[in-house]
Structures are given as structure tokens and as C-alpha cells.
């Protein structure tokens, strides 16, 4: 799981980092002393889990959650119990840790998060099995069939997505998240908040980009490990 820490206190960030280091499959991608900097980061990167301090000056942890369109899983960290009831009104909040965080309680929170993730993954797998080889898109009141293996790139632009296939490009009023749910995971990967690619169509990969047909597509730092996993490297 790729994680970030948001806390205005360095001591708190070091404690969480120390606890994370002892648990396998948890990678701290970055840490931030305030929510504003984290929002900028999340606009460019996808992560699985945020350790979020509630009590920060100017922009509180709960304000931060409200500002996110699709918040990832969140574990709140705080010295104050007064937000506990409000916190559980948010689906993305998995747990609520009181500072100073004790190791057993931290491990319990991570276990809870992993269970949560496992449930989501198994749901995705079932959905994946049900995927067909094509889908229909609504363009100018016509339903047009698109063969999934023909798609090499899907790009989000404002309220529309551009679906690029070998022969034709389609502009559809939808979101990347909606279409992502209809695509087989075995073929497609979201490499950036604005791009989903067909991994079978990759021509080459550089540090932070992939070449697909003639398009150079940026790859977010957090998505690069998953991309590398999908490649059949010699």
C-alpha cells in the first residue's frame, strides 16, 4: 500500500514512519506538514492510504477530506477524541488513532485497512470476470460499440473522456473513474489521474512516461511500481 502522512508536527510524522517501517507492504511515498501541499500532491498521484492529523492550523483534516473528490482510505491521527463521532460519517475513514500512537493499536488499524482493501479487491476480481470484450458508448444519442482490445488510450479532459482506438477517437461525456470500472484490469491501467492505458499497446517506457502509438503519456510516481509489475521483463 502506498501511503502519505499529513501532520504539522515532525515528531508525529517520524513516529508514524517508524511504525510503518516495521510493517511489510506499507510504503510511505511522501509526508506533508499541511493539507494544502498534500492536495497538490494528490492531484498528480494516486495513493492507497493517508495518515491524517485532524488538528492542523488553517486547514483541518476534516476540511481536507471534504476538499477531495475521491478520497483514498484514511486513518485519522489526533490527540483529541472530540472529532470521533463526526469522523465516522465519512466512508473513507477506516480508523481513528489517538496520539501518542501505541504499536498494537497501530497494527490493528493497518490490519483493518488491509481487510478493507482485500474486500474491495475481491469485488474487483468478480467484476473483472464479468467483463466482456466490448462496451457501448452514447455519442449524439447513438450507442456505439467499442472493442476493448482496440482501445489504446483513454484521456480525461474536463467533463469528457477521449477514447482512442486503432481506427477512431471517441469523445464521451463521462469520467475516468466510471470507465475504469468497466475495463478489465488485466488489460488496462490508470497510470496518471488523467490517463488510462492499454498495457499491451505500450511501445516503450522512459522514467516518468510511456509511449503508446504516437502519444507520450505521463506516469505518476505512485503508479510506476504497478506498471513495472505488469510488464513482462526479460
Amino acid at each position: 500500500m502506498n501511503c502519505i502522512i499529513i501532520d504539522d508536527e515532525e515528531t508525529a510524522r517520524v513516529i508514524i514512519r517508524t511504525l510503518c517501517d516495521e510493517i511489510g507492504n506499507l510504503t510511505i511515498i511522501d509526508e506533508f506538514p499541511n493539507a494544502i501541499q498534500a492536495i497538490k500532491f494528490l492531484n498528480e498521484n494516486e495513493i492507497d492510504l493517508i495518515f491524517l492529523d485532524i488538528h492542523m492550523p488553517d486547514f483541518s483534516g476534516l476540511d481536507f477530506i471534504k476538499a477531495l473528490k475521491n478520497p483514498p482510505k484514511i486513518i485519522l491521527t489526533t490527540s483529541d477524541t472530540k472529532f470521533a463521532i463526526e469522523a465516522f460519517e465519512y466512508d473513507c475513514i477506516i480508523d481513528y488513532l489517538l496520539k501518542p500512537i501505541e504499536r498494537p493499536r497501530f497494527e490493528k488499524a493497518i490490519l483493518k485497512t488491509k481487510k478493507h482493501q482485500a474486500v474491495n479487491t475481491s469485488n474487483t476480481s468478480i467484476a473483472d470476470l464479468n467483463h466482456k470484450n466490448d462496451f457501448y458508448v452514447n455519442i449524439d444519442r447513438r450507442l456505439i460499440k467499442i472493442d476493448l482490445p482496440e482501445i489504446y488510450l483513454i484521456e480525461a479532459k474536463g467533463d469528457y473522456i477521449h477514447i482512442k482506438t486503432e481506427d477512431k477517437n471517441y469523445v464521451v461525456h463521462s469520467t475516468l473513474k466510471k470507465i475504469e470500472e468497466k475495463l478489465p484490469e488485466s488489460l488496462f491501467l490508470k497510470v496518471h489521474r488523467s490517463y488510462i492505458i492499454n498495457v499491451k499497446k505500450i511501445i516503450d517506457i522512459e522514467d516518468n512516461s510511456v509511449l503508446i502509438k504516437k502519444d507520450v503519456i505521463p506516469v505518476s510516481r505512485s503508479n510506476r511500481p504497478e506498471l513495472m509489475k505488469r510488464l513482462d521483463l526479460l
Partner: protein, 105 residues
């Protein structure tokens, strides 16, 4: 009378001296800054800031194992929401105690 201690830090470090050292160094850097900010907010009678400063300092108080002092800080923080400064002397006593302790580690 309770004294600051490293029980929590030792447990967290789990025998790793580098973690212990790093955490102590950060506390020794952060604490005087937070204390200074608190005293400045107090001087300006900026209740919202004082509350924020106390909240931040509370974490250090608990890390250093000062359970009773943590309760005092907690009550002080809550009273500050009603713009009451009643426990400021007791709170400052805790800060002095921590300052002295940090010189010894």
C-alpha cells in the same frame, strides 16, 4: 511528582538506537519552538493560537510520559475555547519541567 521519561520512545524504538536518537533530536528541536510560539501567542492574548499551541505541545507531554500533566494541558486547552486562561501557570510549570529534562537527554 511525575517526571518526564523515555518509556514511550524506548517502546517505539524497539531497541533501534538510531530511531530513539532521531526522535529525541526532533523533540529537542521542535519543543523550544513550540514553547516560544505558545509564549508569543500568550503575550498577544490570541486565544485561538494559544489553543493550537497547547494542542501541539500536548503530544510532546504525552510522549514524555507525563500523564497527569497531559490532563492539565487538556483541561487548559478546553478552557481556552471559552477564552479562559485559568491554568496557564500550571501549564507553564509543565513546559519548564520538560525544558529542564530535555537538557539532560
Amino acid at each position: 511528582m511525575e517526571q518526564p521519561n523515555l518509556i514511550y520512545i524506548d517502546k517505539l524504538a524497539n531497541g533501534d538506537e538510531s530511531v530513539k536518537k532521531r526522535l529525541i533530536e526532533i523533540i529537542k528541536t521542535e519543543f523550544p519552538k513550540e514553547k516560544k510560539e505558545y509564549l508569543l501567542s500568550l503575550e498577544n492574548l490570541d486565544y485561538k493560537k494559544i489553543e493550537e499551541n497547547v494542542h501541539k505541545l500536548k503530544h510532546k507531554i504525552s510522549i514524555l510520559g507525563l500523564e497527569k500533566s497531559y490532563e492539565i494541558a487538556n483541561k487548559f486547552e478546553h478552557k481556552l475555547r471559552d477564552q479562559r486562561l485559568i491554568d496557564s501557570k500550571s501549564f507553564e510549570g509543565i513546559l519548564i519541567k520538560i525544558s529542564e529534562y530535555l537538557k539532560t537527554i
